[in-house]
Amino acid sequence: MIQRSNPEPFTEHPASSPLTIHDMTVAYHRKPVLWDIDYNAPKGRLVAIVGPNGAGKSTLIKAVLDLIPRASGDVKVFGLSYRNQRSRVGYVPQRESVDWDFPVNALDVVAMGLYRKIGWCRPVTAKYRKIALEALDRVGMAGFARRQISQLSGGQQQRVFLARALVQDADLYLMDEPFTGVDAATERAIVAILRNLRDTGKTALVVHHDLQTVPEYFDHVMLLNMRLVATGPVQEVFTPENLRKTYGGKLALLDRVGHQMTLSGGGQ
């Protein structure tokens, strides 16, 4: 079922793989929404996570980050548990996940990416504000640093989120739909930054909705629909047949078994 056309992740020692997911199942109310995911992320690549609505794309990212519990399986980041590698992982949540009326400005939001580095109970000093401002400059938003975030357009808000991820200076980035609802200029800016990250050896897993731009923007792809349909380099895996498998409706039996697990209270 799962095609692994790309041998590269296996030629390296597993410890150096940015993200290893082993037999992970995630359930809501005992009903699995992600079944038995086995995955090795290739280092220094841009990976698109693609699949229909309800395929579990955001769930996968959140389960990796321990934001929601896993029913089974484990996750390794550069060979160690995520707990010990938090500083090496940057997270860009969905833009809609926060309240944009919150009384903070763009610079405040970007500086949040530095909170771990700054440490508990210490203030955000001028040194850190400078770093945050540089990151805003990288996403073309330096002129908006003092702007209250509700006064930014959707694309500008997304760039602020991206700048916040940049200051984290992580090695593995997990981004949840950074391209949703942004203007063409922002889309170009995000792509440029992603490529820049890749060129400096970083890995990014990006939930992406626009199938047309997948081959242009990404090196690898993960096709997901409650299960892993296929992963590997875009030119090998991003085929009409695999896409049909991914988007051709859920597996009826998978749904049925999941439903029965919910009813009988098992499924762990």
Partner: protein, 467 residues
């Protein structure tokens, strides 16, 4: 009116140190509450504050019973009883605060009930439990339900700290305020991120769930301290309304916090003065002479509500008044731009020197009525864009530049519509007459670029160049 003022001053002439202590205690309690309140409001969990003020009741009762029991067992001496009682009280409230949050989450997840419904189930049940406990333990506990519900700020001076004239309640609420201020200053960054983006906070190692529980515990402790002064129901007003008012006034978190403190602090003197003055003024006049004063706590809630209403009306930029002014300015600007357009077109038609024609156009070609037209023309004259020379209105050079921009916007928009819309030619004008007031030079430049620098509009009239 002078009668009312004199009566007010007369009533306030009776102000005694007692009144000052009431105001100080109430202000400290309100300010202490407003700090956790800011974060509850920002997290959109205002109703959780309401819930906590109810669920603290069983916490208080259990803590009371526990303290008495320990006293009976001889574990705490009578001398330290009073201090220990407060300690146990705070502890009980904090435990109940966290328990409320945890229980609500359980009911939400296990019962698969919507979050606010889960909160509703938990806090009413715990409150009822508290009431039952008070009833059954009433013989053993010197706890009066009335004083929990309504507070006893009027009698604060009865219970003073030994040796000083300072009411115990003032000290207690002052300490709570200090602790809360300290917590906000120390954990400012952590509170901010876990309120704004809990998921990111958690991935950065700032556990948002724990921060939530901590906030619940601090809120519950603060509420318990404030209960004695303002009562368990009105305390909600102090928790939420100052923060809601401040959020209307500022878009910066630290300023929201400072303003919340100010609003909360102000509500105490306002409330107390109103409690003294209003009943005789209102009820005295209605013939109810027996009503001589009202509850200070109740009037504080009214006062803080009035401050909120004032903020809704007066908030800079977003308030009702600001929006009315903004709209009025816009209406005058649009009328003025229409005047400029009329005069520019008159010049184009070679009629600018014919007073009768120009006046006829100004009176008939504008949508604005005579009043608005007069206001618009006076504005233009003041801005040096229009002169009234002899019997005729003329554009100054500056006015002509401004008019050219308006007409250019109008005709570019028509050309733009002609390219992209399937519209009859006589439909262009109305749309352009609306749009011309909102098109700035940057937009004009982009439009002209897209249309390949057109010289004529769809009606064949020349589009003036940018000045």
């Amino acid at each position: 009116m002078p009668g009312i003022l004199a009566q007010t001053l007369d009533l306030l002439a009776g102000w005694r140190p007692l009144d000052t202590w009431i105001v100080v205690t109430a202000a400290l309690a309100a300010m202490g509450c407003s700090l956790p309140g800011v974060f509850l409001v920002l997290r959109r969990q205002s109703m959780t504050g309401d819930a906590l003020s109810h669920t603290s009741l069983p916490g208080i009762v259990i803590a009371f019973l526990l303290a008495q029991w320990l006293n009976k067992l001889g574990w705490i001496s009578p001398e330290t009883y009073e201090t220990a009682r407060h300690g146990v009280l705070f502890l009980g409230a904090m435990v109940v605060g966290v328990a409320t949050a945890v229980l609500t989450e359980w009911v939400h997840k296990l019962g698969r009930v919507e979050a606010s419904a889960a909160l509703g189930v938990v806090f009413t049940t715990l409150f009822a439990l508290g009431l039952i406990l008070i009833r059954t333990a009433a013989d053993n506990v010197d706890l009066d339900p009335d004083c929990v519900l309504y507070g006893t700020v009027e009698t604060v001076v009865i219970d003073t700290l030994a040796g000083t004239g300072v009411p115990r309640a003032a000290v207690l609420n002052g300490l709570v305020l200090l602790v809360n201020l300290g917590l906000v200053v120390i954990f400012f960054k952590e509170l901010r991120i876990s309120a704004f983006d809990p998921a990111l906070a958690t991935t950065l190692g700032i556990n948002a769930t724990l921060m939530h529980y901590a906030l619940m515990a601090v809120t519950a402790a603060t509420l318990v301290a404030a209960f004695e002064s303002v009562g368990s129901i009105l305390v909600i007003a102090m928790l939420i309304v100052p923060a809601a008012t401040a959020s209307l006034l500022s878009r910066q978190l630290w300023l929201v916090i400072v303003l919340s403190l100010a609003v909360a602090g102000l509500s105490a003197p306002l409330g107390h003065v109103m409690a003294i003055v209003l009943p005789p003024l209102i009820f005295g006049r209605l013939g109810f002479d027996s009503v001589v004063d009202a509850s200070t706590a109740g009037m504080m809630a009214v006062a803080v509500g009035m401050l909120f209403a004032a903020a809704v009306f007066l908030a800079p930029g977003t308030g009702i008044l600001a929006r009315i002014v903004h709209h009025a300015v816009l209406v005058v600007r649009i009328a003025a731009e229409d005047v400029l357009g009329v005069l520019y077109r008159a010049e184009e038609a070679g009629m600018a020197s014919k007073a009768t024609e120009v006046n006829h156009l100004l009176e008939n070609a504008l949508k604005a009525g005579p009043l608005l037209r007069g206001l618009a023309m006076r504005t233009l004259i003041r801005e040096g864009k229009l002169v009234h020379d002899g019997a005729i209105y003329r554009l100054t050079p500056a006015g002509r530049d401004a008019a050219r921009a308006v007409v250019r916007s109008h005709r570019l928009w028509e050309a733009y519509l002609a390219k992209h819309f399937q519209l009859a030619e006589d439909h262009f004008h109305d749309s352009a007459a609306r749009a011309e007031h909102y098109i700035d030079s940057g937009t004009r430049e982009r439009m002209a670029e897209e249309l390949d620098q057109p010289g004529l509009d769809p009606h064949g009239r020349s589009i003036p160049k940018e000045s």
